[in-house]
Symmetry: D2
Subunit: 361 residues, 4 copies
């Protein structure tokens, strides 16, 4: 089978590097096009990332010698890739403009950026939760006059550690109505160079710019419904978030206190629901889909970033410490690998879903 040609926008940054690492030997996709800022354009990929390749494996051989394109020059992508992953940097309007130009050029865009997250006809996709939001792609193409191109985005990495667990409960009729969440987020979430070592050694930072807002708002769009060509956010859930930075390389942890509405599951039911949760990516056996999307840890001191972030190749969410809460109903701890499930791995899973649903043809 001939592989589908994929491009990576923002290929020299940390998320871009993760895409390139994770796509090495992918059974369906191969990286044939890389683009970045105009400074990198014209260089071979290995020259462009010299001194700032951060992965702990070497650059894949087939990517080393690809010539980096200017991400603004959409023309060069045509014919060289069938869709792109976007991890391009910049202000919101610039990113929108770039991503739109690829979509307009018949090149679907799977984006890690927040720029389009609140565009009403762009879905924030978590493949296990809201695959039906992909129906809006036809509306989106109509609105913009795009032919084959479209834009699908991923949510912020901070919410990945509890969204699938919450959804698994909702699907069984137990809809949480209020949650209070504290996150302990990893350094890689801030990109590179990101957090200065002097700021985080022997320290935590109880603030991450813009993160609490995203954590409080994005889940409602993911849980939303399509109506008249727009995604209408779900209004049954209120979230209060505090996001903190801790001295951990990878893996965002969340401490979640939650309250249900009328119908309340028992502790045993919750664990049972989580353990048995499966969704579309598992049914299709997508290459990057975790067999078990939710892993419940029985040990009282788990999940932990170092020990659990790589479970199911970084694509599973690990949860644990489920117990009664004195104030709301229950509390638990969730963990997700922020640069795999929460970024490049999640983007690849989205593209895999798009492929089996024939959106990339």
């Amino acid at each position: 089978m001939k592989k589908i040609q994929a491009g990576v926008l923002g290929a020299t940054g940390m998320v871009g590097q993760n895409y390139i690492r994770l796509l090495e030997n992918h059974p369906w996709f191969e990286v044939t096009y890389v683009a970045a800022s105009s400074q990198s354009a014209g260089k071979s990929y290995q020259d462009a990332v010299r001194g700032r390749w951060l992965m702990d494996s070497d650059i894949p051989e087939n990517v080393k010698t690809l010539i980096v394109n200017d991400a603004n020059m959409t023309e060069q992508a045509k014919g060289n890739c069938q869709f792109v992953f976007s991890a391009v940097d910049g202000d919101k309007e610039t990113i929108k403009k770039i991503e739109n130009s690829y979509a307009a050029a018949d090149i679907p865009v799977v984006s890690n950026n927040s720029a389009h997250r609140w565009t009403v006809d762009v879905p924030i996709l978590i493949p296990e939760i809201n695959p039906e939001h992909l129906d809006i792609i036809r509306d989106q193409q109509g609105h913009y006059g795009w032919n084959k191109g479209f834009i699908v985005v991923k949510p912020n990495c901070s919410i990945q550690s509890y969204m699938i667990p919450l959804y698994a409960l909702m699907k069984k009729g137990y809809a949480p109505t209020r949650i209070i969440v504290t996150t302990e987020q990893a350094l890689s979430g801030a990109g590179y160079p990101g957090v200065a070592s002097l700021d985080i050694l022997d320290n935590i930072i109880p603030y991450i710019t813009g993160e609490a807002e995203k954590t409080e708002k994005e889940p409602c769009k993911v849980f939303g419904k399509i109506s008249e060509g727009k995604i209408i956010p779900y209004d049954g859930l209120t979230i209060s978030a505090t996001c903190t930075r801790v001295n951990v390389q990878d893996g965002h942890t969340s401490i979640v206190n939650l309250e249900f509405g009328d119908k309340k599951p028992s502790l045993e039911e919750i664990i049972d629901i989580w353990t048995n949760f499966r969704a579309l990516p598992q049914e299709y056996e997508l290459p990057s889909a975790p067999v078990h999307p939710i892993l419940y840890r029985q040990e009282e001191n788990r999940p932990q970033p170092k020990k659990d972030r790589n479970m199911e190749k970084g694509m599973a969410v690990s949860v644990g410490r489920l117990r009664k809460c004195n104030v709301l109903d229950y509390k638990f701890v969730g963990l997700s690998h922020n640069t795999v499930r929460g970024a490049a791995g999640g983007g690849i899973l989205s593209a895999e879903l798009l492929n089996v649903l024939h959106y990339l043809e």
Copy 2:
């Protein structure tokens, strides 16, 4: 003025070392008696701690050559010290037995241990909050048949970062009724050797044995009332806690979401109340009392352990990030130095209060 002679039980452990460090050059107290386990007994203090002195200043000269006593041998303390700080290790019953034996020998005990925290006639003292609980000392002495001896304990270090801020509000008529707290606690809270480096490097641990329970229960006793020779815990406040360990040397951080009853202050009022809070230790100008017990940080990314734990010589609580909570009323971040305010420094402040109130005579 002749200084009051103080003993330190458990003098070779980490809390004991902190007592010895902080009492160097104390204006009122001098360390004249050190006691530890039978293995250390008979050695000079500097020999007993060789290879495990953890402070970043050297052992005070006058303590180096003190001979370590067996903490079980109360007799040796008589005449050698007028009261003791207890940081002795062991199971609950052993600790109670040791502390009781000192009290019985006319030697008041200011204890860091949890053993006596739920003894009905032993006060859990935070000098800024419940000095009136010291009235129970007379009852305690009556119950046990002690003459001059008594026992006063300190609360768990995990609650110190928000208790004074909550109390300051209560005192002004704004009583919180429900709080959800997540703590990010420092390594030194686990003693030495404590947390293995392999467990915490590039990691957090979302569990600390027994800590959530203490965090949920102890505040109610601190806020309690004396009635018929017992301290009756306050029943107006419900707490839900999750305690996590982070890779920080010193300084416990708490993320607090809180709800008030009928009367609710504005954000401005809260900051104003905190900034102007003063209590008995400030009135008496006790040597270890912080001038400002609560420091409100205006910066959006503060308090931070590394930058704020040493404020007011480690005796102030730093708070920040006060803002609306979508689920409860408000949320904020608190920070307190766990081995100073939360342990030895807090014990010394308690002893200073006991002294000005003539309990050590």
Copy 3:
């Protein structure tokens, strides 16, 4: 092909856990026997390591339910495994006794312990360097009256980062005569719980018990010659070592200054020799053998533990920064994964070599 049954002594410790992790899905060996201290004996392996399984993947399914044996009870190993990896703890004499008893029971022992390193007829094996030392096994069996059993040991993990690079030069006629080495060693080298987090956070420790001595002496035995049933250490090399501990999970780094005798290679020759070095494990294509035993990094800031320790599945040595030394001839930086190449992975490679050379039959 039926797999060879392997046992692991000291299976519950950190090195033992690494053996079990690395032997999962091994093409030649399968773990069928695990032994540890008498406290663990009788428990299932998963019960025995509950709360102290340190690997970042779960316990292999086939090992979870193996019943742990008492490492002292050699009888139980008979018929249950064809050879053992020894990572048993204890004092030197106890370890020797245990290892000897397995050898006496016809069970070859591949040991990680230092106990037998200076036994004159026990080889310290680095498969790429001194496979001819295995000839002494016949002498060893004769001396002790063993039939099929024997003992082969591994060197200390601190020397692995420069031994193969030095040997590659010696083999080409460039024998170093004097080296000064400073090591920056990882936490996992100290076992578990090992280094206390309070000792290493924001710190380095310029001393590791016994490590400098091993680092100075063991290379000479590895480079030695067999003569009259004994391994006579090489006397042409003098080493001065200082071993320090740094806050790194895995990967020992060494800074090496070296001087040659009469014959001195150029910088280019050295890099060329290193890059092209191959030895017996590569010829036999042993399952754990790195394709490139020595990886020379051109980047001026490499090798680094986090980025290079996992190269060739942790079995390659990474070197870099080769340049002139003002005092001796040259200097370079070496790096090796201490729990893979330096411990369990090295042991497995040794067993693979023993197998192809028919010592395990």
Copy 4:
């Protein structure tokens, strides 16, 4: 006594902040003038450093409201300060130009920068070692046509941990001839933001740009002699250095192997010489001078950055682990606080020496 008015150039950077922190309550000097880049000029100091004040105490009250000047506008310094500490950033020529312009304006400059270190008539001062190099100030003033102004610089922070120990031996007739040094340097040496946390968490970096060269060359100028208006570097000492970065906040460690010429001290003599070493700053009892410039630690695992960097308020050098070297004569470990003794504290001590020697009048 009226205090001498001091300026700080580059006042908003990390070294500048350290100057401001250490000069709070200085008995002789007070900060009356701060200068930085043109972006900061015109703001109050507290506004200029908002969000990047890195010290763990708050900004001194008297400096908070000082208006930051443009470091290029020398005119504004006149009358507002009697001398300046220079920690200004930029390329070598720009720094030289700025520092020269202050000297030309009759304002002596004590500089932390490397720009002027190899200017033949600018002394690299370590007050305990080469105070006689200050004699060249008159030559310098003559060469440039300066009246009261002049420039004195400090050496690189990487050499501070062993220069005074070496000098103490030289002074007693034991001149080292060859040394091999490996440094393990702290993060603060790289300034702010400096080293990215993703680069150093769970890692070491075996390279620091330009550092090995400085470490090998600067000692020879410090040990040099004035001849015909130039400082002629000492040619009796050859140094080979490898500089590595470790995950430590403050405190540079060096592992030193050294060889003497004809005259070789015993281990006991060395310790004795170090312990009793005193020099001009101690004779004058300068405010920042350590009482004991060299502290020899008897413990086999010291000095350690976290435990020893603050000895004598960060101004002492701690040494330990002195023992025989198999290749050269001896080896030892040295430690010095890089932002105190190695930067701002060392600069202040230099200024104190200049003051008692009447150079600031």
